[in-house]
């Protein structure tokens, strides 16, 4: 509810070119993500927090798409917005639902102060971060790593998606380790829950 009402107001706020080169869509998505994150942290009802957290993940997926990282966006949408929300809801269904009189958690002022200090410290580093999509950004323009992979991934693997070329070929052993970690996670869940069959 909170996130839904914030979309309309933030979209109109983002339309004003207050910050340099922040489009309306980008500003709206950023405001949506920040507000849903705040609502997730402040919601007193756990069910509401889980649902708003799913909306946050969906907003992050849209933001990743906007920043042209569709692989990350697909993962965020499928895993965070979909699977994690379903698993959290499933867990909540097995717990006790508690009625709350107030909708929002009471704010802990020292915690807010600590988070504000950290946020201010991080904000100080913003000046050294290159602009989004800048061709001079070091992560993009260095010829040894990024440009090498972009140049060589198709030549060496014949795969157009260089993300997949890096994951499955250049870093294939890491990916094998990650896949085994996922498999081991399933086995660990079996052990923790004292079961011998998945389904």
């Amino acid at each position: 509810m909170i996130g839904a009402t914030s979309v309309g107001s933030s979209a109109t706020a983002g339309a004003a070119p207050a910050v340099a080169q922040v489009t309306a869509v980008e500003g709206g998505l950023l405001a949506f993500v920040v507000l849903t994150a705040l609502a997730t942290a402040l919601a007193r009802d756990v069910l509401a927090a889980v649902i708003v957290f799913g909306a946050y993940s969906l907003g992050m997926a849209a933001l990743y798409t906007f920043y042209r990282a569709p692989d990350v966006a697909l993962t965020e949408a499928a895993i965070s917005a979909g699977v994690t929300t379903v698993l959290l809801l499933l867990t909540l269904a097995k717990t006790t639902r508690i009625d709350h009189d107030v909708a929002l958690e009471s704010v802990n002022l020292p915690a807010v102060g600590a988070v504000g200090l950290l946020f201010g410290g991080l904000l100080l580093t913003m000046g050294d971060i290159p602009a989004v999509g800048s061709p001079d950004a070091a992560v993009w323009s260095n010829p040894e790593v990024s440009q090498w992979y972009l140049r060589e991934s198709y030549a060496q693997t014949g795969v157009e998606n260089s993300v997949m070329a890096v994951l499955a070929a250049f870093r294939g052993f890491d990916t094998f380790g990650e896949a085994v970690v996922v498999f081991a996670g399933g086995i660990a869940a079996l052990i923790v829950l004292h079961r011998e069959v998945f389904a």
Binding site: P70, D71, A73, L74, T75, A78, I79, G82, V83, V86, L87, L90, T91, A93, K94, T95, T96, R97, I98, D99, H100, D101, Q156, T157, G158, V159, E160, N161, V163, M164, A165, L167, A168, A169, G172, F173, T175, F176, A179, V180, V182, F183, G185, G186, A189, L190, L193, H194, R195, E196, V197, F198, A199
Partner: protein, 232 residues
Amino acid sequence: MSDTRPGDDPVGGADDPGTEEPPVDGDPGDAVDTDDAPPRRADSRSGRPDSERRREIPYTESQVIMPTVKIVAPFAFTYGLFITFHGAGSPGGGFQGGAIMAAVVFMIAFAFGIEATREWLANTVVVALAVGGALAFAGIGLIPVARGGAFLQYDLLPIPVKYGLESVEIFGIAAIVSGVLMGLFFLLASGFDSDGSGFGDTGSAEDDADEAADDPDAPESDRTAVADGGER
């Protein structure tokens, strides 16, 4: 009480089967709850869902959700297959496609009931996906080793390098991810299982707590019983 725990320890059988124990929250004496509002428990506070209790997950047939899922599920599953098979030429890959295909199973389970889906999708399928995926990934990686190369050295495979990558994504990663996610879903839906497992300690402690809750002369253990129930 005794019919909800078939084949449990003999301590539970010693109870009078006629007296159904009221929820402990109904006792006016307990003041353990730290929250403002008193907790309202949806069902029995027994922390050991057995086969009957597993079916207690709320499921209501919805005339909106079931036809919607019937229409959407084939398209979503096809999209998952597309993402998996076209990871080489477009965004995505085995991880994302496997997650989408597992999410289709979640969707079906929410529409038609988790237990019905559990019976429809046999345990063999889930285990075969997870184990077969891990074995396929390792096997594809080890074929070049057998030919004198390095692990996952794709140019030593008998197929083009591109198809080597795609086979890893399809038969390895997508299978592992979809199988493990489906398994986690059904595991979380069933929760703890008491039959044939080492849950005797918790069970006996809870039975002690139940007996103590029945006994009005033991206020201290009554309090611990409420605390134990509140932890779960």
